[in-house]
């Protein structure tokens, strides 16, 4: 399942599409998706596509990764889940192949 993270507040952030097997998200310029906000760690989390499942994993970030209101280290994503990266909220949506 290919997914994207759609921001709940589109003025704050861009949509994140998981277009490759591993997407690194953070404030550092080397990240695949760069979010230049102080609440986002340099390497905050990564999204991975394994088999048909999308996984999110915290990389030891300061403000953490939250799934449906609970802080998580690693979680499989389902359509409709709400993800918080730092203070940014996203909704998980399916991408039609």
């Amino acid at each position: 399942m290919s997914v994207r993270l759609v921001p709940l507040n589109p003025e704050q952030a861009y949509t994140i599409t998981v277009a490759r097997p591993i997407v690194l998200i953070g404030r550092h310029p080397d990240c695949d998706v760069r979010i230049d906000l102080p609440q986002v760690s340099r390497r905050h989390c990564c999204l991975a596509l394994a088999h048909d499942q999308a996984i999110i994993r915290d990389l030891g970030s300061r403000h953490g990764v939250w799934l449906n209101g609970r802080q998580i280290q690693e979680a499989y994503l389902n359509v409709g889940d709400e993800i918080a990266i730092g203070h940014l909220l996203y909704r998980v949506e399916q991408v039609a192949n």
Partner: protein
């Protein structure tokens, strides 16, 4: 399909038993490498049906695939991954049972093994390697079937002569319950397997 990153230098293998494996020195990593040259979050590995996708996480000493430094790359069975200075080779351990590990010894059993009671019956792996360097001729019993693998031939060497015609199949199996290892001789092999990172 059961993939495994086999350690070519020091340290343990990394079994690919999860979809996403973090490799690094930090305690939260799935595969911990205790070397100061390895970064805390060094790289992550994603299982992609028969191949692995690897990504460097901004490590100081980087990752290499088949000797070439990369940020992102794909590993297929036979490819070599270097994490800082620690080398691994991706191997496909087969499809039958995730707990079963096939071990192939590339050398032959020693003379001691062929004649029970005439010396050390349990030579270490390094001794076997030394013998392999000196000469790789198969030291099987004259009455052993020709299709014996070197491992089966080694076992045949310690069996009584009456069993010479028996077919030998060697299975090296990791324990299903690592906490409760039996204390018999066979468990030595299992204990070796149990030293894995997870």
């Amino acid at each position: 399909m059961s993939l495994r990153l086999v350690a070519l230098d020091e340290g343990s293998d990394i079994p690919i038993d999860r979809d996403l494996i973090m490799v690094g020195r930090h305690s939260t990593c799935d595969a911990r490498l205790e070397s100061l040259r390895v970064s805390r979050n060094h790289c992550c590995v994603v299982n992609r049906r028969g191949s692995l996708e690897v990504r460097d996480l901004g490590s100081t000493n980087g990752i290499r695939i088949n000797g070439r430094r990369v940020d992102v790359g794909t590993l297929r069975p036979g490819d070599e991954l270097t994490v800082a200075h620690i080398r691994f080779r991706l191997e496909d351990c087969g499809t039958t049972n995730d707990n079963t590990v096939m071990a192939t010894i590339s050398t032959a059993p020693s003379d001691d093994l062929r004649r029970p009671g005439t010396g050390d019956p349990d030579p270490s792996g390094s001794e076997l390697k030394d013998r392999a360097k000196r000469g790789n001729q198969p030291l099987v019993r004259a009455d052993a079937p020709e299709d014996d693998s070197p491992l089966a031939a080694a076992v045949r060497g310690v069996l009584p002569a009456e069993l010479a015609g028996y077919k030998i199949q060697v299975i090296v199996q990791a324990p299903e319950n690592p906490g409760a290892l039996p204390k018999d001789h066979d468990s030595k092999i299992q204990a070796e397997e149990d030293k894995g990172p997870l």
